[in-house]
């Protein structure tokens, strides 16, 4: 009967206030900025080189030029990826900047609302244009 003198199991009460469920959103956003950045180096710098520098640059661009490019799925996919990645990367960057400078909760909220609505509109519009492009229009 020596067990009685032994100390019982110690129970440590849970902390009164646990920090609320943590989200990894900011970590994923940080990682996304870097991964999308690397892909955008090829897509955006390639786009700028072809459109502004190669073979006469901007002077040779017109409707027929666009029609010729978008007849190839390669450039359609290129432009679609560039649109989505650049818009998501840029919008996420703008979100960081709003969080940095807008101090009132209300101001922050509404600036981000305007940002997200504008970005959503541009992404949808651009996607629609790439998918529904008609070389024989007008």
């Amino acid at each position: 009967m020596s067990t009685a003198s032994q100390p019982g199991p110690v129970s440590i009460p849970a902390p009164r206030s646990r920090t609320r469920q943590r989200s990894n959103y900011e970590l994923y956003s940080w990682l996304f900025m870097r991964v999308s950045g690397i892909v955008l180096v090829f897509l955006v710098l390639g786009h700028l080189f072809i459109m502004n520098i190669l073979d006469g640059g901007v002077q040779r661009i017109n409707f027929a030029f666009v029609a010729g490019r978008w007849s190839s799925p390669f450039w359609q996919v290129w432009d679609l990826m560039m649109l989505w990645l650049a818009m998501l990367h840029g919008t996420n960057g703008m979100r960081t900047i709003i969080n940095d400078y807008a101090e009132r909760d209300q101001t922050r909220f509404w600036l981000k609302m305007i940002l997200f609505v504008a970005a959503g509109f541009i992404i949808l519009l651009g996607t629609l244009v790439i998918f529904t492009f008609d070389p024989n229009i007008g």
Binding site: R34, G37, I38, L40, V41, V44, L45, L48, N52, I53, G56, G57, V58, Q59, I61, N62, F63, A64, V66, L83, A86, M87, G90, T91, G93, M94, I97, A118, I122, L125, G126, L128, V129, T132, F133, D134, I137, G138
Partner: protein, 131 residues
């Protein structure tokens, strides 16, 4: 060795200026992108409307602004790669200052011929072509 406490004073150093430039170029390029998707969307309206807007891209002043845009994107891209190397490459933080000078050099080396080809037509049109 170690006469200078490297990296203890951030404000006013190259690190601050690359950060400021990265932020300004990021915002500038973002707003241009919004406009650029809108002008490209005119291909869904009519060839004439699209060609009319693209014609403004070929005028001297806008052409000069395109050089600025390309320069801004190129800086943002190179500095972005530097940030990524500082974050993920074990020796990145140690070489971040050298990398800042390296991207500056790469920027100049690419922008000199780039500016030449971007402005070639405009300069020829304004001052007469040699050919």
């Amino acid at each position: 060795m170690a006469a200078m406490p490297a990296g203890t004073i951030y404000r006013g150093g190259e690190g601050m200026w690359t950060w400021v430039l990265h932020r300004i170029t990021g915002v500038g390029v973002f707003f241009f992108l919004l406009v650029h998707v809108l002008d490209t969307a005119l291909v869904r309206v009519s060839p004439a409307e699209y060609d009319a807007v693209i014609a403004t891209y070929k005028t001297p002043i806008i052409n000069l602004m395109e050089v600025g845009l390309v320069g801004a994107v190129l800086f943002h891209a190179l500095n972005g790669l530097r940030i990524i190397l500082v974050d993920f490459w074990a020796k990145g933080p140690r070489y971040q200052r050298q990398m800042t000078w390296a991207i500056g050099a790469v920027w100049v080396v690419l922008m000199v011929p780039g500016t030449f080809f971007m402005l070639k037509h405009t300069v020829e049109a304004m001052f007469g072509s040699a050919s």
